[in-house]
Amino acid sequence: MEQTPNVKASLEQQTEAARSAERRTFLVRAAAALVGLVALVVVVDVLTHGNFLTAGNLTNVLRQITYNAILAVGQTFVIITAGIDLSVGSLIELTGVVMATFANAMPFGGFGLIVATLCVGLAVGCGAGFVNAVPVVRLNLPPFITTLAMMLMARGLAFKLAHGQPVPVRSDAFESIGTGYVLSGLMAPLHLPGIPIAVLWMAAIFIVFGVLLARTRFGRYVYAIGGNEEAARLAGINVAAVKTAVYMISGGCAAVSGLLLMSRFSSGSPQTGIGTELQSIAAVVVGGTSLMGGRGAIVGTFLGALLIGVLNNVMNLIGIESYTQDIVLGVVILLAVVLDELRKRYLAR
């Protein structure tokens, strides 16, 4: 067929147009979100008598969401492949207990100890992710079941290892991660101690995994598997390897979350993770990722985790008791998902 320059040019134009339309939609949505956010903040600030909109409180919100947001990053990968990972909450506990025990047994401290401890935690987390994945990719078992089993096993193991008690961390090497700040000088005029180091960890993880998902071959395969696993397999994609990697990423994220929590509370506790697996799923889904797989993005997950964090924070500031908080949170999650679905249907018309 003739390669008419006209056709080619027009195709390029159309693709360019599609791309700028995409950009426009994104900008419009971002602007809308911003306006909504500002309005919300004003309302919230009034409700909380000015306690919400302080630099200190906002920093606090960011630090509070760190653990859940990092879990949700791994969860996003799993959910885009149309899977689910219920084990991440217990894995926070198991990795926390293992890391605390390990750190206590080491004769050295400082940065070396942090690196070694993290490696041990990652080995446990990724290893558990691997165990989660094997029955899923080999026997085609539902991940709901395999990760549910891991959830029970990891929690039980954490309790046994810790003898039912939090394991206090003796080394002070982790203090900086847990409670330290950077850029303190810069933040001083804002009456802030600086940016929490844990928040930096979160930012780094979001950037690295955001790029991995959106820009790499691996990320494309993750979407393809979630969109149509059989078509992906017939295209020569090693579905088993990609899925296994995804569960290992999820387990690894749980380990990082476990390290940060352990550092924050100077102990590895077998109880800190209860319910967090569901919180992480909520963040992913509120962030617009489809539980049916094939669709979603890391940015959305961050916004989802942020929304849930802000909500919790505000309710605490207003003094709403915790049962009511659960109800409100449930309603908001449902609303967010319903609204997202309605928006998609509107766009699809």
Partner: protein, 502 residues
């Protein structure tokens, strides 16, 4: 045949049903008398299933009338069909696998005692039906643990409990052993004696004289002939089924060069998916067609070659090099491209864009260092959109939003960018319009010109005859016979495929 006098039990008059791009039923008239077994035959796509779905209330006819006992009726849903005494037994049974025989037979018709199901009455009514027929069924196990024949009997009983007077059976013997078939025929004859009528759809032409009274041949959405089975010799029947001149829109196939090398060599290929000891060669510039009935194993053969199902035995060589088929990846690396039967389920990620689908199987080439080069993807996608005339607003269109023909072209684009040596086309033109069909044929010729070898599976006889240098007729997972282009006639293909002649 009883009751040929008077009104037929069922009369369908001038039924028309059109789908976008195809007139599936083009004025079909069809009568069934009480106590008659009426065979309905025709090629794949002749309109048998559509006609029966109209009868069952699954489709509404665009035009035409249906009479039951001489009275006009409207069948606007499955319940209406049931109320008129019409029972359907599809190839895929509609039983609840975890319930037992009795529960399935009375499903939806459970005798009640107050708010509770009356188990005793249910068992009685099921037993009554079974007793009438003199058959026994195990009552103590779920249906999933019964044989296909037992499940089929339950389907028949289900219809009878609903007072069916006409039972439609679609390929009832496809999965039965000879003994089970005998038992089924006995059952049909007993019911026939009680006045129940059957519409009997089958590709197994050799069994029709044993069971049917009359036969109607459908072709291209028309009922072209109805007569008593005794007056329908097999040869004539085959001719009636396929006897249209080949459609004129097939391009001329260039002859295969005498010294063309063998590109695909398959020896002793077997797979757990019903592929048995298949051996054949395809040379550069040659199209080998795989013909045969649905379920004969054609798709399974190409899937095994492409590694979609892993073969259990056999050798596959591409361009003289042995390949170890352990999955799609190894076949793709060797230059084998499978354009699968069901593009929506197997060929495309519908929620992804044209660009993402195009590069999916060769993403390595577009992601140096692991990072996807979107510009390069766009370039190649634009080339393919032009080359294949994919009608899409651009590379960023979501595949789901394109028409069937254009979706099929994306599947082709996905393999064309990889320069494969062997192309396995499985039903390449199913459900796509005539224009796109012609473009796909033209593309196949272009591939031949580049030295590719092509294997094509098609259920459309004219297509497989018109677009193949050689034909392999597949029967029961193995090659039933090979026909050169000169030898291949529809009658011979059907004869081999149905086991009438070797």
């Amino acid at each position: 045949m009883s009751g040929q006098t008077g009104d037929p039990l069922l009369s369908m008059r001038g039924i028309v049903k059109a789908f976008p791009g195809v007139r599936a039923l083009d004025g079909v008239s069809f009568d069934v008398y009480a106590g008659e077994v009426h065979a309905l035959v025709g090629e794949n796509g002749a309109g048998k299933s559509t006609l029966m779905k109209v009868l069952a209330g699954a489709y509404r006819a665009d035009e035409g009338e249906i009479f039951v006992d001489g009275k006009p009726v409207v069948i606007d849903g499955p319940r209406a069909a049931e109320a008129l005494g019409i029972g359907m037994i599809y190839q895929e049974f509609s039983l609840v696998p975890d319930l037992g025989a009795v529960e399935n037979i009375v499903l939806g018709q459970e005798p009640m005692r107050g708010p509770f199901v009356d188990g005793v009455a249910a068992a009685k009514s099921a037993a009554a039906v079974l007793g009438d027929l003199g058959i026994a069924l195990p009552f103590d196990r779920p249906v999933r643990r019964m044989s296909v024949a037992q499940q089929q009997t339950i389907e028949i009983c289900k219809s009878l409990v609903r007072k069916a007077r006409l039972i439609v059976m679609d390929e009832p013997t496809a999965a039965l052993t000879d003994r089970e078939i005998e038992a089924l025929f006995g059952l049909i004859k007993r019911l026939q004696a009680q006045g129940v009528a059957f519409v009997y759809i089958s590709h197994r032409l050799e069994e029709l004289p044993q069971i049917a009274d009359r036969i109607t041949v459908l072709r291209d959405g028309r009922a072209i002939e109805t007569r008593p089975i005794a007056q329908m010799p097999r040869d004539e029947l085959i001719h009636l089924m396929v006897g249209r001149p080949l459609d004129a829109h097939f391009p001329d196939l260039p002859p295969v060069a005498a010294d063309a090398p063998v590109v695909l060599r398959v020896r002793g290929l077997s797979a757990a998916t019903h592929v048995r000891d298949v051996s054949f060669d395809v040379r550069a510039g040659e199209i080998v067609g795989l013909a045969g009935l649905v379920g004969a194993g054609r798709t399974e053969i190409v899937r095994a070659i492409a590694g979609a199902d892993v073969p259990t035995a056999g050798e596959v060589d591409v361009a003289g090099k042995r390949i170890l088929v352990r999955g799609p990846h190894s076949a793709i690396e060797a230059g084998i491209a499978l354009i699968p039967e069901d593009r929506k389920a197997q060929g495309l990620v519908l929620g992804m864009t044209v660009r993402e689908n195009t590069t999916l199987a060769h993403l390595d080439a577009y992601s140096p260092g692991g990072f996807v080069d979107r510009k390069a993807e766009e370039r190649v996608t634009h080339e393919e959109i032009e080359e294949l005339r994919i009608r899409t607003p651009g590379a960023e269109q979501i595949a789901r939003n394109l028409s069937g023909g254009n979706q099929q072209k994306i599947v082709l684009a996905k393999w064309l960018i990889g320069d494969a040596k062997v192309y396995l086309f499985d039903e390449p033109t199913r459900g796509i319009d005539v224009g796109a069909k012609a473009e796909i044929y033209a593309l196949m010729l272009e591939l031949l010109g580049c030295g590719a070898a092509i294997v094509m599976v098609s259920s459309e006889l004219p297509e497989v005859l018109g677009m193949s240098h050689r034909l392999l007729v597949i029967r029961d997972g193995a090659i039933g016979g090979e026909l050169s282009r000169a030898e291949a006639t529809p009658d011979r293909v059907i004869a081999i495929a149905t086991g009438v002649a070797a």
